[in-house]
């Protein structure tokens, strides 16, 4: 067992665990959006940032991917951590204004409004990539990908063309933390052909 401290509380972890896993094991709340135990962690949403301190030295790390080590001093509610969280939530509220899940989670952490204008009032997807990871790692198909790069990045079928690789298992819809996959789903499979029984 590895022992270290989170918020001055002594915790123990198995070798190979992350700081987030250890925190959850000890009921210490760290918000996450792009993390799911069924798939590998990617460290993309940065809501799970925690501060490591050692003497006067400190740095912020993503707890979902940071491996535990003996004697770590982890803090989950420092000013720097809250500053990252606050801005990520403010930006998410503007980026995904139609997602009640994000609004609920932001409110839980004290962020109820955003200084930013929304570019798309219907948007719910925050491109965390959980859908693509579950399709690749659990279903084994890679019918979903992130398309394009940088600020243009979005979720879609590979090469932005509907794909018959998709078996409509629904794993992506289930894992999606914002409910966005429900509306993206059809663009992955393509819209099914009109039901034959309705034809002439």
């Amino acid at each position: 067992m590895i022992t270290f401290k989170i918020n001055d509380q002594e915790v123990s972890a198995r070798p190979g665990w992350t700081v987030l896993e250890t925190a959850r094991e000890h009921d210490i709340d760290i918000p996450t959006l792009c993390f799911h135990p069924a798939v590998s962690a990617s460290g993309a949403c940065r809501l799970c940032m925690v501060e490591l301190r050692e003497g006067s030295w400190s740095k912020l790390v993503a707890s979902c991917i940071y491996p535990v080590a003996e004697g770590l001093q982890v803090f989950t509610e420092t000013e720097r951590v809250r500053n990252v969280r606050r801005w990520v939530f403010e930006m998410l509220l503007a980026a995904c204004p139609a997602s009640p899940e994000i609004a609920r989670m932001a409110a839980k952490h004290g962020v109820t409004s955003t200084r930013f204008e929304s570019h798309d009032p219907e948007q719910t997807c925050m491109v965390c990539g959980l859908c693509a990871r579950v399709c690749e790692e659990v279903v084994g198909l890679s019918a979903i990908a992130t398309v394009d790069r940088g600020v243009h990045k979005r979720v879609g079928a590979p090469f932005a063309k509907p794909t018959d690789v998709c078996v409509a298992c629904g794993s992506c819809v289930t894992i999606c933390p914002t409910g966005a996959m429900q509306s993206i789903f059809d663009s992955i499979r393509g819209v099914p052909a009109t039901n034959l029984t309705q034809l002439g």
Binding site: G43, N83, V88, K153
Partner: protein
């Protein structure tokens, strides 16, 4: 320069030992008359862009017709970058070392007649000292070159990069032979550690310590281990690595092979951005030649050590210069960075221990091994040893490539070597470290240019881009420019970078329109800190630096925008108006003819007037006015 097939100029002999390498070198030196007349034409990217290929062709044609080929042996040498790019195309006549600038094909006949045949200088093509007005004959007497110390660029501009015999003549591969025959891998690592060499790509991590950690990772995980060259230089205005790879590809290659020997690597990669076709071409030629001479590949110099490398071309993503994104790109996946909590020396390319160093870092390795760490330690300052190559660009007279000892004051670089700002005024600020770096204001002009002093000033060494700004540059606009660049280059994986850079740029956009408040400046600073703390890789984490340093040093200019709705530098279009000073205007009508929206009216020889309603604020009228009558307010 061979543009046809990859060619080896002298018949390659597979070298079997260090002695054979020395013998070959002696033979090359003996065969070449040091007093031979030689026309050296710069074929660096800068000079090529200003037409140097036409100049070297003109020399070839002229020499043929002049019938003096025998006097000019071995004909015309085309080399990598000479450094003083703003004066290109550059031509040097050896053995006198006459330095001709801005040479055009029409000048060639005169050079052939006056200089090559009659042995006289063509005065009008010589450099003139801007302070004294005196003619300067040779490169070394030009102030731009005088203060430089060339370690990395030792051969750049002197050798033909496509001819390995030039490299061997200049002492290339001597360090490799020394390492292979007289040093153990452990001794090589110890020598690099002792030299104090730090990574030249950005962060300035100790190269020796990196190699040492790789050795301990190999102890734990075994081999294979990989050595990789980061040649994905992408900062706007930076071309140091480009010049090294183009002008002396063997220097990079030799460094890499020595590193491979030190770490026991059998395979290496050179990751070079596809936008550097000439660098890739020269590296390919260099590798083919090195293989033919037994300096790369199986059983190098018959030492029993085998190593080979291949070139991977980047596909245009700036973020692939980040180490983990570079690895995923080589692995054939999208170039997204991955979290770095396990270091690349332990888990890098293909999950194996990997040593990734920048082009310039690798090129530093051969001289350190050849001449020893003690020699290297004497150059520069403690904790920042050696030299650094900078590309000096922006509002500076001598735009070009310079190499100086670490620790030189910034003002020496900009004012003495760079020749100062064109309008003769003091510079306003210098952006070091590219879009990830910061803006150093004039009052810190004595800051020594070394890793730690630059960080203390809020900037960083970065890879060595140095952009000089004067009072016609607006800091809000500069910060916007760099943010927009990184916004376009973000991989989009983590939220602070993908969403945050756009949001920061939007706030700056509103500032440039005169909209905002002191609270917005505070919000921008707070958001910038969140991105620094929260972004996944160095691209995002360092992206706020230009914003934070400009707010730190030029707060009053930000306030001028948001409180007084004024852009002091006269750059932000929404905050300026163009007007014509009737006292200065001669009514020449030039501006009226040039104006793209015909918003300037006035009769000939009468003062003209600009219709501010219609004016696009493009600035063409101001540029075209010979009398300085167009004013910005």
């Amino acid at each position: 320069m061979h543009n046809s097939a990859i060619a080896v100029k002298t018949e390659p002999v597979r070298l079997q030992s260090a002695e054979e390498l020395n013998a070959l070198r002696d033979r090359i030196i003996a065969e070449r008359d040091p007093q031979r007349l030689e026309v050296v034409v710069c074929h660096g990217t800068g000079c090529l862009a200003s037409g140097s290929a036409k100049v070297s062709q003109a020399f070839r044609d002229a020499l043929e017709t002049a019938g003096i080929q025998a006097k000019v042996m071995p004909g015309i040498k085309t080399t990598g970058c000479h450094g003083l790019c703003s004066r290109g195309p550059l031509v040097v006549i050896r053995p006198q070392g006459l330095f001709y600038q801005r040479v055009q094909p029409k000048d060639v006949a005169e050079i052939v007649q006056r200089t090559l045949i009659e042995g006289q200088a063509v005065d009008r093509l010589l450099y003139r000292n801007p302070d004294t007005g005196d003619l300067v004959f040779t490169q070394d007497d030009i102030p731009f070159y005088k203060l430089q110390e060339r370690v990395v660029l030792r051969n750049v501009g002197k050798i033909d990069p496509t001819d390995i015999s030039d490299t061997i003549e200049a002492g290339g591969y001597q360090a490799l032979a020394k390492a292979l025959t007289t040093m153990t891998p452990e001794q090589v690592v110890a020598e690099i550690e002792k030299s104090g060499l730090r990574g030249r790509g950005g962060a300035g991590f100790s190269t020796g310590r990196k190699w040492r950690s790789a050795l301990s990772a190999i102890k734990k995980k075994g081999r294979p281990v990989y050595v990789v060259v980061n040649g994905d230089e992408g900062d706007p205005g930076a071309f140091m690595d480009c010049a090294v790879m183009e002008g002396d590809p063997h220097a990079v290659l030799e460094g890499l092979i020595i590193g491979a020997y030190a770490l026991g690597a059998e395979n290496g990669y050179l990751y070079v951005r596809a936008e550097y076709p000439l660098a890739i071409r020269h590296l390919e030629i260099a590798m083919a030649q090195a293989r033919a001479y037994g300096l790369l590949g199986e059983n190098i110099l018959n030492s029993g050590f085998s190593f080979d490398a291949r070139i991977n071309r980047g596909a245009g993503a700036f973020v692939c210069g980040e180490s983990t994104a570079l690895f995923t790109s080589i692995e054939g996946k999208p170039g997204n960075p991955r979290p770095k909590y396990i270091r690349s020396v332990e888990e890098g390319l293909w999950g194996r221990p990997t040593v990734l160093n920048n082009v310039e870092t690798w090129a530093n390795v051969p001289p350190i091994i050849a001449r020893g760490a003690d020699w290297y330690n004497q150059i520069g300052v403690p904790h920042s040893t050696g030299t650094k190559v900078f590309s000096l660009v922006g509002k500076v007279n001598n735009v070009g490539l310079v190499e100086v000892p670490m620790g030189l004051p910034l003002s020496t670089l900009v004012e003495k070597i760079g020749g100062g700002v064109p309008n003769g005024k003091p510079f306003k600020a210098v952006q070091t470290g590219g879009p990830s770096g910061g803006c150093i204001p004039y009052h810190l002009k004595d800051t020594p240019v070394d890793y730690d002093s630059l960080v203390a000033a809020g900037s960083m060494m970065g890879s060595g881009g140095m952009i000089v700004m004067d009072d016609s540059d607006c800091v809000v606009d500069v910060a916007r420019y760099f943010l927009h660049f990184l916004e376009e280059e973000s991989c989009g994986k983590c939220l602070p970078c993908r969403l945050g850079l756009t949001r920061m740029r939007e706030i700056l956009d509103s500032f440039s329109k005169g909209v905002g408040s002191e609270q917005d400046i505070a919000d921008l600073t707070s958001l910038a800190q969140a991105i620094q703390d929260g972004a996944l890789c160095a691209l995002g984490a360092s992206a706020p630096n230009p914003v934070l340093t400009t707010i730190r040093y030029f707060k009053e200019e930000y306030l001028a925008h948001v409180q007084d709705h004024r852009c002091p530098a006269g750059v932000c279009k929404d905050l300026i108006t163009y007007a014509i000073d009737p006292a200065l205007c001669t009514g020449c009508m030039t501006c009226a003819r040039q104006c793209p929206v015909q918003c300037i009216s006035g009769k000939k020889k009468q003062p003209h007037v600009i219709d501010a309603e219609k004016c696009l604020r493009c600035g063409i009228c101001k540029e075209s006015c010979k009398f300085g009558a167009v004013l910005i307010s």
